[in-house]
Symmetry: C2
Subunit: 419 residues, 2 copies
């Protein structure tokens, strides 16, 4: 069993601390103590930090007083100061801990991005300055969320940016591990607020993590997980505030231990279901309907099409609850054109997914799942499956009951099969 | 007569606005209007700004909570965010005024400095990026007070840094004028709080300005004036809050108009006088006494040595008032060694100086000065002279009377002789 970062002697770790973890002078000092402890264990440490919580919003409010639609380039110049303040303060706190440290902005590192201000993508990282500092025994503190384009303009990476910075640095430096410190102590088999004996996972694969994230588990930004998977950077989620090994997100191929069939249960309350019935069953119907929805910038999730006994078809799909009325209005319009019989909508539904790479080689997961739900008299409205996931849409009021039943049916409260 | 910046059509001006001038959103908007007006007059404009007033102190206080003696490198990373916030906000305010604008940090420009963190000196400026923007019709907004060393570390320039940035940029870009916007509307013949009819000077030379500054006129930082003189950058001091042409500080050689004999009267209340009497009149005595003072890092200003009728000498000098007790203790020690008779100190004195390049070619300035003081029964304790300055030390209580009498004796309330 893994016992956490300390089992890797003399390795290079990238640690990322978010805005809440550096939200006050005291918390910055606590982070410095954590980093200094990693140094004492013999690791080389690169730290990526966000702006102190509240700071980015303060800066955005200043801009809003001046311009209703401020230039994206200048917004990046403005908000990037938030992380710059944190890197300087954390470096000072590390000095106070007797730890040699040096700070770098995104531009100084240099983290080269494209020029899409406020949502730039990292293209290249020059790791040689960081490596020189690490060799000299220093902790390197890097401003997350920011970079610089080829012309030297300051850019920011958009949502989840600091996680992405940490993963990209870990990839560029070939770090042993990228550790994302958050306010939870790891990834759980399901939400502990719903299932009392939900268990922290020691390990989860990138694919599983992506499915968990996209299904509502908000521990990590999807983009950072994708990035880590693409560059094969072992990612660990752990708590800024408590001790513990957290959850390691890693490549399946890296894992020679027997995997459990199901890793976790994700769910999402933010969905609504729409159905259009009695449409002619001819080619191109789905694209007519869904094309119109997508043109309105509404994202569609689960999609199911059926042919009825009268040679007409029905199409059902889910959207974000906020988009339901808009989607319904579009469906009503299309229904007239297509002479469909009815349009139905329902925002009292939820999506529940079993996620696990072990499903690939195990039949019977679906059967166990449906059986568990049937035992509780929970009706399944929609089903979709992928290689590592089975998703059902059910009535909202059954959510907790369903998740608890499935958690227990798959024995997720028990230790991983890995040892 | 000069009527201000608008007489130069289609020229390049560098404008500098200090922390008070950009101290709130409303003031930043007012600066944007001033800059936009310069653009409409057809000038190319580069703007240099400081941090919003209070911001630098806020950042320093954060650092003080973490470390009693924070690293100079990290302090520069921290405080340089102050100007970075201002450049972004001012650029947005210029966009709101319909003025195309782009902001640059010191590092982006790039303003290359040595690596003396917190008191770095500018070594080189790369103006090509700025010139490209100006050619494209943009206002360029540059963060004052900051630069970058050869290794790419962020540096700050220390006191008066933003003035220095503006002058250095003006020199590098061969600007027509460097305009320093402050809370006064120009350089006066003397302090208007002391003399009611003190008059704003249209023009003053660098040499005069240096003497006025070093004698207590705090309009401009001496370093920026020296810099402007060295690189022959015409400097104009004017108000952020009122209209008006301000005062142009320029090269004497540039001036083919007849100069007034005296340009202004400077004074300084921060001095104290020390005298050591009855010392043997032998070579090396002055250096023994003043060497000991200077070893204690005390700066000495006016120095006068006299030989008395008994073949002993007395040495008198002035120091900053804060240094008087320390200097007195040193003198007492030396007095014993040298068997001097007495040590006296007086912190109720002030220094008053007449400044003017016209003195060079006019005899009789000293006579007029001493006569005016004698008429008021003001005793002169010390006199020193330079090519463009006569300084007297008098009792503090006569300061206002002396300055008013001199102002009137030299007819400084009347218009410059220049036309």
């Amino acid at each position: 069993m893994l016992t956490g970062p300390s089992i890797y002697p003399m390795n290079l770790v990238v640690q990322k601390y978010g805005g809440t973890s550096v939200g006050s002078i005291e918390r910055i000092q606590a982070v410095a103590q954590k980093v200094a402890a990693s140094r004492r264990e013999g690791h080389q440490v690169v730290v990526v930090v966000s702006a102190m919580s509240g700071e980015t919003n303060r800066l955005i409010a200043l801009a809003a007083e001046i311009h209703t639609n401020p230039s994206a380039r200048e917004m990046d110049v403005l908000v990037s100061t938030g992380e710059q303040v944190t890197i300087a303060l954390l470096s000072m706190a590390l000095h106070e801990e007797g730890c040699d440290a040096r700070s770098y902005t995104g531009g100084q590192v240099r983290i080269l991005t494209d020029n899409e201000h406020s949502k730039a993508r990292i293209q290249e990282i020059d790791g040689h300055r960081i490596r020189d500092d690490l060799e000299a025994g220093r902790v390197v503190v890097v401003a997350g969320f920011q970079g610089v384009d080829e012309q030297g303009n300051i850019t920011t990476l958009g949502r989840g940016g600091s996680d992405t910075t940490a993963v990209a640095l870990a990839a560029a430096l070939r770090a042993t591990e990228c550790q994302i410190y958050t306010d939870v102590d790891g990834v759980y088999t399901t939400d502990p607020r719903v299932v009392d004996d939900a268990r922290r996972l020691e390990k989860i694969t990138f694919e599983e993590m992506l499915e968990m994230s996209s299904q509502g588990s908000k521990v990590l930004q999807i983009r950072a997980v994708e990035f880590a998977g693409k560059y094969q950077v072992p990612l660990r989620v752990l708590s800024s505030f408590e001790e513990g090994p957290g959850t390691l997100i890693t490549l399946e191929e890296d894992d020679d231990m027997e995997k459990p069939v199901v890793s976790g249960i994700a769910f999402n309350r933010d969905e609504a279901k729409l159905t259009i019935r009695g449409i002619p069953d001819t080619p191109g119907i789905a694209s007519t309907v869904l094309g119109a929805i997508s043109e309105a910038n509404i994202e569609v999730d689960v999609i199911v099409q059926n042919v009825g006994h009268d040679d007409t078809a029905s199409l059902t799909f889910t959207v974000h609850r906020n988009d339901m009325s808009k989607a319904e209005a579009i469906l009503q319009r299309i229904a007239k054109q297509l002479k469909a019989t009815t349009v139905e909508s329902d925002d009292r539904i939820v999506k529940v997914s079993m996620v696990g790479v072990g499903m690939r080689s195990h039949a019977g997961v679906a059967a166990t799942m449906f059986e568990a739900l049937a035992r509780e008299n929970i009706n399944i409205q929609l089903i979709t499956t992928s290689e590592i996931k089975i998703t059902v849409v059910i009535e909202e009021r059954y959510l907790e009951l369903a998740v608890r039943s499935l958690h227990s049916a798959f024995k997720l409260e028990q230790q991983d099969l890995v040892e």
